[in-house]
Amino acid sequence: MTSKQIQNHRYLNALREGDRVVIEEIYRELSTPVSNFILANKGSREDAKDVFQETIMALILKLANEDLDLSGDFNAYFLAICRYKWLDRLKNRKHLETKKSMEDWVTKLEVSLDLDEMELQSLLRQEMEYQLYTEKLNELPNHCKEILSLSLKLNEENKKSHSLKEVAQILGKTYPYIRKAKSNCLKKLKANIKADARFHDLNK
């Protein structure tokens, strides 16, 4: 293992396990370059703080789903995610600010980003998919959320999801009602996901 790989492993492990000392080290090392970059590109210190935190969460999400095999430098990878996230925010702001200068700025910034790293793309893609699915799930009516959450949640004892009969029992409803309701809720959820622009981005 090279010293770079050891360092990567140490940082990723700290994020996975919530190691305060090492996470603080990440803040100490990377907060200045992140905030300098965002301040130099139309952002505020508050923006920098949010982007930094979002990046930490994105990495935790990635680590929860699969192992992150970083061949390059962790710091560079972290900064690349922050830059991408900031670009995304600027793009969203573009809709609010009609100034042409903002569009020029985003274009210039986009050119400067080095987005060809497969790992970074996979992380951002996964995060986008996660946000799309969880957001649409949370937008469903309460009864749908309840039924779907119960049928997706793993039973602590046997590590399997609840059957519809169990869901019906827990919610005090009949099995046919739950069956029909679940089917309708899934249809609705699927339609909402498909109608979102991010779904098309993910399936490009």
Binding site: L39, Q53, T134
Partner: protein, 245 residues
């Protein structure tokens, strides 16, 4: 899909997945839903533990530095990352080196000794069709045409790139002319002397040849040969001359 499938059922199901696009879409959707739901559960738990820590560190490192948004960044961040600058520089260096190599490759032939001799050689015979009826081997030194035949042989050898033969003919021509008995208006003796000097590229020391060219350049030769000497000297001093030979 919630029910467990036996091995046979599983195989049938997998076969159907390959052919039924709707079923494949539904399965894909459910897998993603399950995966992201599980991630949400995990993250909720993680965030409950991590959020207080990241909030605290965020405040410590982003809010409590005594800095305001108007403070300029301590280190200017280039819009094009340094790594990209590195790539651009490397590409530029490769292009420059490639360009120089290509330029050198295309020009090196222009500086070979053979090319320079051919370029600077001046025909000795003023009029090659002046009625030389016989070839050199058919003539004797007493024949009036003999000197012209030698000059013609010198020019022809040069055209055939037989430089040493041309050199011998020119030396013979000048030696015989020194007797001053067979002078012909059709023979350019100054060109013969010049050619001998040019052919010196083959066997003279460069310094000696440069010296002789300098003397010719500043001497009383005709302007044409003075200018020729100057041009040849410049070519001999060019780096390509050294590389090409």
């Amino acid at each position: 899909m919630d029910q467990e499938l036996d091995a046979k059922g599983k195989k049938e199901f997998e076969e159907r997945l390959k052919t039924d696009q709707n079923l494949a879409d539904r399965v894909d959707f459910m897998q993603k839903l399950r995966k992201n739901f599980a991630l949400q559960q995990y993250l909720n738990q993680e965030q409950a533990e991590l959020l207080p820590l990241t909030n605290e560190l965020g405040e410590q490192y982003f809010d409590q530095k005594g800095l305001t948004d108007s403070d300029p960044p301590t280190v200017p961040i280039p819009l094009i990352p340094m790594r990209k600058w590195g790539r651009i520089s490397a590409a530029a260096i490769i292009l420059i080196i490639g360009g120089v190599c290509l330029y050198w490759y295309m020009n090196r032939d222009l500086y070979t000794k053979d090319h320079l001799i051919t370029e600077f050689y001046e025909p000795v015979l003023r009029n090659p069709r002046s009625g030389i009826k016989k070839s050199l081997t058919e003539l004797t030194q007493d024949d009036p045409e003999y000197l012209q035949a030698v000059a013609e042989a010198a020019d022809q050898s040069l055209n055939q790139q037989q430089f040493s033969s041309s050199q011998q003919m020119l030396e013979m021509l000048l030696r015989m002319d020194s007797t001053n008995t067979r002078k012909s208006d059709n023979i350019n003796l100054e060109a013969a002397k010049w050619n001998l000097l040019v052919l010196g590229l083959l066997n003279l020391e460069p310094d000696s040849l440069l010296n002789q060219l300098m003397i010719l350049q500043n001497g009383d030769a005709s302007l044409k040969y003075q200018q020729g000497a100057e041009r040849l000297r410049k070519k001999m001093k060019h780096p390509f001359y050294r590389w090409a030979n």
